[in-house]
């Protein structure tokens, strides 16, 4: 009797998980709809293909496990915000690793050298470091506007702010980045 009950329970569980999985087909639709934009944004933030794949995977896994498999109200907003956070976490980890390595080897890149002035890779790396340091509200706007190339209307919907606020945040972010980048070069 007990065995039967257990087997019924497992069948019920299996049926339940199957129905959730069937319902979760919207994840694949979201992947199809926003995948390209998301990959572009992640590539621009991270600049490394393996990191992009990892961040992309993390984003959709978080989406699949959102409140026990429920569909968020605004899927695109959820995806972009999550991807943004995941990418920044990876970026910060890499920056810390790079710092640790450079300290242990005692290699210090000279920011003032004329080679670095024209080295665009250095410039990009510097910008990525500074973006990782930005406060969340400014960072979200700059990544969505300049790296994901979304319109202010889309950004305002994703972040739940007005378009005017998004513009102000972007302006502030650019000012902060300019100050920090100039300081790093001094």
């Amino acid at each position: 009797m007990l065995g039967k009950a257990i087997s019924y329970e497992t069948i019920w569980d299996f049926a339940g998980s199957e129905s959730i999985a069937k319902d979760q087909r919207w994840i694949l639709s979201a992947m199809q709809k926003s995948g390209q934009e998301l990959v572009n944004m992640l590539w621009r933030i991270l600049g490394n293909e393996q990191d992009v794949c990892d961040a992309y995977q993390d984003t959709f896994l978080q989406l699949a496990h959102y409140e026990g498999g429920k569909k968020p109200e605004h899927v695109k907003a959820y995806i972009f915000r999550t991807a943004n956070n995941v990418a920044i976490t990876i970026l910060r980890r890499k920056i810390a690793e790079r710092k640790r390595i450079s300290e242990s080897v005692n290699l210090r890149t000279e920011a003032n050298s004329p080679v670095n002035e024209i080295d665009l890779k250095y410039l990009q790396q510097n910008l990525r470091d500074c973006i990782a340091r930005l406060p969340e509200h400014l960072r979200d706007v700059i990544t969505l506007r300049d790296l994901a190339e979304l319109s202010y209307v889309q950004i305002s919907r994703i972040l739940g702010i007005s378009t005017g606020t998004a513009r102000v945040y972007r302006c502030k972010a650019i000012q902060l980045l300019a100050v920090w980048m100039a300081k790093e070069e001094e």
Partner: protein
């Protein structure tokens, strides 16, 4: 409960107010573009100031450096199959039924599609050429007709002069009335 329903069903704004709000929205959007034009670094008053102020020059350079780095990040291409790889990796960790779904198979093979503007760009050149050809033809046709009518009037004038010299002005005027010539 009923009261709440009636309140929610009631419109907060009248028709004219709604119209005014939509106008406001339009003006607000236009305002940003106008301000951007006037306050952009390309504005002449700003250029003049920056040229003479070392502090602003420094700030301007710093902002330009950020913009340069951002455009560098944007212009750096990734491999064509990055989206495919990312999809394969992600679908691999999803539930079995999702992995086996026909859409998942499609996503595993997906390649980035160019944007609508990029897709239309290849048709832009031939259509521009066609438009130029049509314009040239129209202009040619117009010039041909105008030169033909010019030649006709000049020919009539010459004939009138000939007849005036030979048979007299009255008869020449009868044959070639002056309003035509």
């Amino acid at each position: 409960m009923k009261i709440l329903k009636t309140i929610s069903s009631m419109s907060l704004y009248s028709k004219s107010e709604k119209k005014n709000i939509s106008k406001c929205k339009h003006v607000r959007n236009r305002l940003y573009s106008v301000l951007e034009k006037h306050l952009s670094p390309d504005a002449s008053w700003m250029q003049k100031h920056i040229a003479g102020c070392p502090r602003c020059q420094k700030r301007f350079n710093a902002v330009n450096k950020v913009n340069l780095a951002l455009s560098c990040m944007k212009s750096q291409p990734h491999s064509l199959d990055l989206l495919k790889h990312a999809n394969i990796q992600t679908i691999g960790v999803l539930k079995h039924s999702l992995r086996e779904a026909p859409k998942a198979q499609k996503l595993r093979k997906i390649l980035p599609e160019p944007k609508l503007f990029e897709r239309m760009a290849k048709y832009f050149q031939p259509s521009a050429n066609l438009a130029v050809c049509i314009l040239v033809l129209v202009l040619m046709k117009m010039s041909v007709f105008s030169s033909m009518s010019k030649a006709q009037t000049q020919g009539q004038k010459a004939m009138k002069q000939y007849y005036t010299a030979r048979v007299g002005e009255d008869i020449a005027e009868d044959i070639f009335p002056s309003d035509i010539a």
